[in-house]
């Protein structure tokens, strides 16, 4: 390739936070029309790097060369002027505004809202991404929101489009549609920097890949020439632990958790209402609930755990009606709950780990109480036990919850809940934002718990995870739960269709 053709070249880009190197001497090149993957685990520095390209952050060292010229990108507007567009991972949309208003905000001033609306409807139809300009964002599905982001980006006529984990919120079918659009953009000569940790899609889509680990470039390759295992090795830096299966032939035991005709209205305008949900969970069984974010997963978790109370008869733990009981009473019956948000929900960010132990275990573990007082020594002992048994890596002996990495905190939270005699475990998004190494351990523990006779309910958006651990899978779609089907008799495609079938019927 001729040097003059290079669209974007990064030379020795570094970004420091104190002594922590978020990005360390990163260099890469992107050609026009190329779909270039930026691969790496959570925390490898991918987002930091693209934020610098897009002008949201400033590099401490290094040069950005755009079409042969060294450039300085002081803010996102400057990046857009150069021809860099971005589709964010956590959508950067404004819920209370309309589609047209959202798009107008990212365009240079001078166009009326009507013009913007007209142009966006034209471009969205021509790319097969239909949108209504006057719809409000909070009424749109996640897939539609991503369309808004993409169309907003296209209207700026970019030469390079940065896509930050675009498929993490999509069903397999929606992802296929997205890939078609991306291939077409690539044919039109637009370069795409595609950030992901999903290896299969990178192999299917990307012509080049740069792999980051701990803020450094650890490899460059043509993804099609590699195997998923070799890519994963480069990403993680070691071999990934494979789940050792348990003997599923063991007959399932008693019904441990039962949900009967559970309906709950949404608390606020943004919540999903649960509609007539019924299922049973047996001892020794792992059941998985799949679904796209925002289809009632959090509401279901809250109802099962007792964060929200319902009709008494709607939820039974070991046959005892508990629907109107609080979370502590349900824990005393042997049920444990691990919520999606680690920081701020499962753990208090500013509290030490030992203090976080007390928060959920004080009613169960009598050793933690000395009369009306708390025994800090006993709490520290429990903390040490969890840390040792669940391999929690930490800086000091009793650090605050917020100082732990996502994976280590998740291991700690899981350990805290299952240390006692957990007979029922309900976990929401167990490995969301957790590094691949820790995620494999967490899945293994869930499998081991079931092998010892616990009933496990896993709510997850990660289909790979569910197919790896669950015996049966159901999907949650707009607050309705499908029947559970054995994992062996279904596949990703069928589950993916189920995840959206409600929306298809409506369309």
């Amino acid at each position: 390739m001729d040097q003059g053709e290079v669209l974007l070249k990064l030379e020795g880009i570094s970004k420091y936070y104190g002594s922590f190197k978020a990005n360390d001497q990163i260099s890469l090149e992107i050609l026009p029309g190329e779909i270039h993957a930026l691969l790496g685990e959570n925390g490898a520095g991918k987002s930091t790097l693209v934020k610098m390209l897009y002008g949201s952050l400033q590099p401490d060292e290094g040069r950005i060369i755009w079409e042969g010229q060294e450039v300085h990108v002081p803010n996102p507007a400057a990046a857009r002027d150069l021809g860099v567009g971005m589709v964010f991972q956590h959508f950067s949309l404004f819920d209370a505004l309309t589609v047209a208003e959202n798009v107008a905000l990212a365009l240079p001033p001078g166009k009326s809202l009507k013009q913007v609306a007209k142009e966006l409807e034209e471009i969205s139809t021509s790319y097969g991404l239909p949108l209504k300009a006057n719809a409000r964002i909070h009424d749109l599905s996640v897939g539609e929101r991503q369309r808004v982001e993409i169309v907003r980006c296209l209207l700026q006529h970019p030469k390079l489009i940065i896509m930050d984990e675009p498929t993490s919120v999509l069903t397999p079918q929606e992802a296929e549609d997205l890939f078609k659009v991306l291939r077409r953009l690539s044919d039109e000569g637009k370069a795409i920097l595609y950030i992901s940790h999903k290896l299969a899609e990178v192999q299917a889509l990307c012509q080049e890949a740069t792999i980051l680990r701990h803020g450094k470039v650890v490899g460059e390759c043509v993804p099609g020439d590699e195997t998923p295992i070799s890519l994963a090795k480069m990403m993680v830096g070691s071999d990934i632990h494979e789940i050792s299966p348990r003997d599923v032939a063991v007959a399932h035991g008693d019904v441990m958790l039962q949900v009967k005709s559970l309906s709950l209205s949404g608390l606020s305008g943004f919540d999903t209402a649960l509609k007539d949900i019924s299922f049973m969970l047996h001892a020794g069984e792992i059941s998985g609930i799949a679904g796209i974010a925002g289809n009632g997963q959090n509401e279901l978790f809250d109802a099962v755990s007792g964060e929200r109370v319902s009709e008494e008869e709607c939820i039974l733990i070991k046959g005892e009606p508990v629907g109107n009981m609080g979370i502590q009473k349900r824990r005393k019956l042997g049920a444990m709950f691990i919520s999606e948000e680690r920081l701020g929900h499962a753990a208090v960010p500013e509290f030490a780990l030992s203090e976080n132990v007390i928060l959920t275990r004080h009613g169960l573990d009598k050793s933690l109480n000395k009369g009306p007082f708390v025994s800090r020594r006993a709490a520290k002992k429990v903390k040490d036990d969890i840390v040792a048994k669940f391999d929690v890596r930490k800086g000091s002996s009793d650090p605050t919850a917020q100082s732990l990495s996502g994976g280590n905190l998740q291991k700690f939270v899981l350990g805290r809940e299952v240390m006692g005699d957990a007979e029922i475990i309900v976990v929401n998004q167990p490995t969301w934002g957790v590094d691949a190494g820790s995620a494999a351990h967490i899945r293994q523990w869930l499998v081991d718990l079931a092998a010892k006779g616990a009933a496990v309910l896993v709510i997850s958006q990660d289909l790979d995870e569910l197919f790896e651990v669950a015996d049966a899978i159901a999907t949650l779609n707009e607050g309705r739960l499908s029947p559970f089907v054995p994992t062996r008799s279904t596949d990703r495609h069928k589950i993916g269709l189920q995840m959206t079938s409600g929306t298809l019927e409506q369309a």
């Binding site: 934020k51 002008g55 949201s56 952050l57 400033q58 803010n75 996102p76 507007a77 400057a78 857009r80 964010f88 959508f91 950067s92 949309l93 404004f94 819920d95 209370a96 505004l97 208003e101 959202n102 107008a104 905000l105 990212a106 001033p109 909070h138 608390l267 606020s268 305008g269 943004f270």
Partner: protein
């Protein structure tokens, strides 16, 4: 001028300061900032306006200084909560306490002095028309400013790009920042606009409503203005309706007292405040609508990533 006209005129006069202060706070809250210091900024405007008017003899200079005092007081709030990311609730409460105390100090020499009233306008023939004459063409200049302000704020928020940008910041300041919108600059302007409005409302109190200086003369109107913004679910036209409803109740109770209605006067005096509480309770019944209309970032500090 008949009795009906007189009552309607006093209602407008009672509603105007509430309307102006609430419109200012509406813009502040639409940008995602909660300034509970409206009462403090208002009383600073009242004392500044009165002092300037009585020193210069010109009520218009009083009005100007009132606006300036409100804006300067709000600048202290803006610096603490925006540049230093201090807690908005605590800072707003402190601003109210500071304003009430400081205004007492500044106003000390002016206690008991006769004030200068900003006179009502008068247009030959038109003002003399029955009923509509005094109401439409014979009020004080600030009344007309308040109506213009309702239209201006509505137009700004929903018809201009700056207004759209301001609303987007109130909805999600992280996204706004990611798009390259200068979040803090917009918020500074919004907070100072709110301060200027509160100051003007204060000036109206000490130069039009009751042209004299009395300590604590804002008498909780700043808090009512705050409640009005919620009552109006952050929409300018509804602020107008709310301010006049409240004005009508507070004037109505005065007339009821004068007529000797058999209800303790304390209860009647409390009526406007009871009305505020009742309306707020009624509004919070519909959690869904309130939540969707509320600026999502209200009261949350924004610290840009570096």
């Amino acid at each position: 001028m008949g009795m009906t006209e007189a009552i309607l005129l006093t209602i407008a006069t009672a509603a105007t300061p509430l309307l102006i202060a609430a419109l200012g706070e509406l813009v502040v809250e639409r940008s995602g900032v909660l300034n509970l210091g409206v009462e403090g900024m208002m009383i600073m405007g009242a004392v500044g306006g009165f002092a300037a008017a009585s020193l210069t003899g010109n009520p218009w200079i009083g009005i100007l200084i009132a606006i300036l005092f409100g804006a300067i007081t709000s600048l202290a709030f803006a610096f603490l909560t925006l540049s230093l990311a201090a807690n908005q609730v605590a800072t707003g409460l402190a601003l109210t306490i500071l304003g009430l105390g400081l205004s007492g100090l500044i106003g000390e020499p002016f206690v008991g002095q006769a004030g200068i009233k900003l006179s009502n306008i008068s247009i030959p023939v038109l003002t003399d028309l029955p009923l509509v004459g005094p109401l439409l063409f014979g009020q004080d200049p600030i009344f007309y400013m308040s109506i213009a302000l309702v239209i201006g704020v509505a137009w700004f928020l929903f018809r201009t790009r700056f207004g759209l940008t301001l609303r987007s910041i109130g909805d999600n300041h992280i996204s706004a920042h990611a798009l390259g919108i200068p979040v803090l600059r917009y918020r500074y302007f919004a907070v100072m606009f709110g301060g200027a409005c509160a100051g003007l409302a204060g000036g109206h109190l000490s130069l039009v409503y009751t042209p004299q200086w009395v300590e604590n003369m804002s008498a909780g109107r700043g808090w009512i203005a705050l409640a009005l913004v919620v009552f109006a679910s952050w929409r300018p036209a509804r602020v107008l309706a709310g301010a006049y409803l409240f004005g009508a109740v507070s004037i109505g109770q005065l007339h009821a007292q004068a007529l000797g209605v058999g209800v303790p006067s304390q209860l009647l005096t409390a009526l406007p405040y009871i009305a505020t509480i009742v309306v707020l309770v009624l509004i919070s019944q519909n959690v869904r609508t309130t939540l969707i209309n509320t600026p999502a970032m209200l009261g949350r500090a924004f610290v840009p990533e570096r």
